[in-house]
Symmetry: C2
DNA sequence: GGCGTGTACTTTGGATCCAATAAGAAAATA
DNA sequence: TATTTTCTTATTGGATCCAAAGTACACGCC
């Protein structure tokens, strides 16, 4: 807590929760008082958040909260799509280690276990989120490339760009179950391609996989306050 | 100059020139004195540079200069490759405006003019760099997506990831000329694909185009001090 | 002579102070 | 009454100060 990175994290949260509305200027002093710290850590955090893409610099008068359109969200998912695709291709082509392969297969088993009941409950959703996060993280880290990992991490700071954004719609659990079944199938095929060293296929599958929330039409109606979204 | 962004720019330059050696800790006070400013703007700049990937945070003791391996440089180019590929695909699929098309064709003409002599001189190289930069910038901006543009911009902060890094080898001007001829051909084909709305083809061409410095074997022997590079 | 503890120093993180500047409000003039 | 000019105020950028933490060195003890 003595570290200013917590200020970054707290601000990230507050922004994506809409506490600071999009497109509105955000003052250092006000934030500092609300967080109970001085201006200094806030100023530092602003620079970080700016680079993460959550704040934009206004001509010569501080920062304002970035507003995202539906288009932006789609783009962020597309960016993740090509970057994770790249990671999968690299991993397949450079060869996957037995350790990583074992870990990925464990993810497949764990994922299968979640879906075994034929329906979803709350714990299932949480478990799947963990397994899914582990799966994606494993592939990226296995490429051993900090450059790719960083590019992905930065993109994932944008709200709903991350593969962790499950967007589970508790009103349509049936449909959500179908989505996870498809996701699980994707995972199986991706591991298959990785094991077989099929770079292009791994990339293609991973790219398609990233679109799952778009394909399943659960992209909008988000908690995050989009700028000009009506529906 | 009164803006601290100049500190960021100056530091970026100093780092990529090797004034601060890779993998070595970088102290706020020392930098502040060298730049003739106080610690505050340096501290702010460090946060920006960290997000840009030029500095890495050391456990709880400030920052050190990031070191890049050959592998990292290749990865950065691959990242640019897939991102510019994405931009090209989007642009082709969403349809390219007549204005942008005209501007791109102007780039093609200008590029052709540079190569018309059959050989390169110093001015030619500079001109081509400008035209090339304009060409790539046009395509990215035409997608109207800040998210993609930002992802690219961040990646381009890594040394030699940017398409502006021509890496012209004045000792082998003949080979460099051949490289630019190929690049020009790529540009022509890319515009063709964009005009025809062929998204996949545009993406594929753009991705290949990004690899030109790798294909032409002029990737290493760089000014930037790589960590463990012998050749 | 080696190892451990303690102290001094270096360096970062946070708070406050001061100056520059831009925005906003009020007043004066046309 | 509208417009322009000036003054006040809010807010950022830079500098300095203080506290906390970590490192290194030295001294002492085993």
């Amino acid at each position: 807590m003595s570290d200013n990175s917590s200020v970054v994290a707290r601000l990230r949260k507050l922004i994506s929760e809409g506490h600071y509305p999009p497109d509105e200027r955000i003052a250092e002093l006000q934030v500092a008082e609300e967080l109970g710290v001085s201006r200094t850590p806030v100023r530092l955090a602003f620079r970080t958040l700016e680079q993460e893409g959550l704040l934009v610099r206004v001509k010569s008068r501080g920062f304002k909260v970035r507003h995202f359109t539906e288009q932006d969200i789609v783009c962020a998912i597309e960016v993740r799509s090509v970057l994770e695709g790249l990671a999968a291709r690299r991993l397949a082509e450079q060869g996957i280690s037995p350790q990583v392969l074992t870990a990925l297969e464990q993810c497949l088993d764990d994922g299968q276990a979640v879906l075994a009941n034929g329906h979803l409950n709350h714990d299932d959703v949480a478990t799947w989120a963990r397994v899914n996060s582990r799966f994606h993280g494993l592939i990226v880290r296995a490429t051993q490339s900090d450059v790719i990992a960083d590019a992905l991490a930065r993109n994932n700071h944008l709200p709903f760009a991350s593969s962790d954004s499950l967007l589970v719609d508790s009103d349509h659990l049936e449909r959500e179950y179908q989505k996870l079944v498809v996701a699980q199938q994707h995972h199986v095929l991706i591991v298959q391609a990785l094991r077989g060293g099929e770079g292009s296929r791994a990339e293609m599958l991973m790219r398609e996989h990233a679109y799952i929330n778009i394909r399943y039409g659960r992209l909008f109606g988000l908690a995050y306050p989009l700028a000009d979204v009506s529906r």
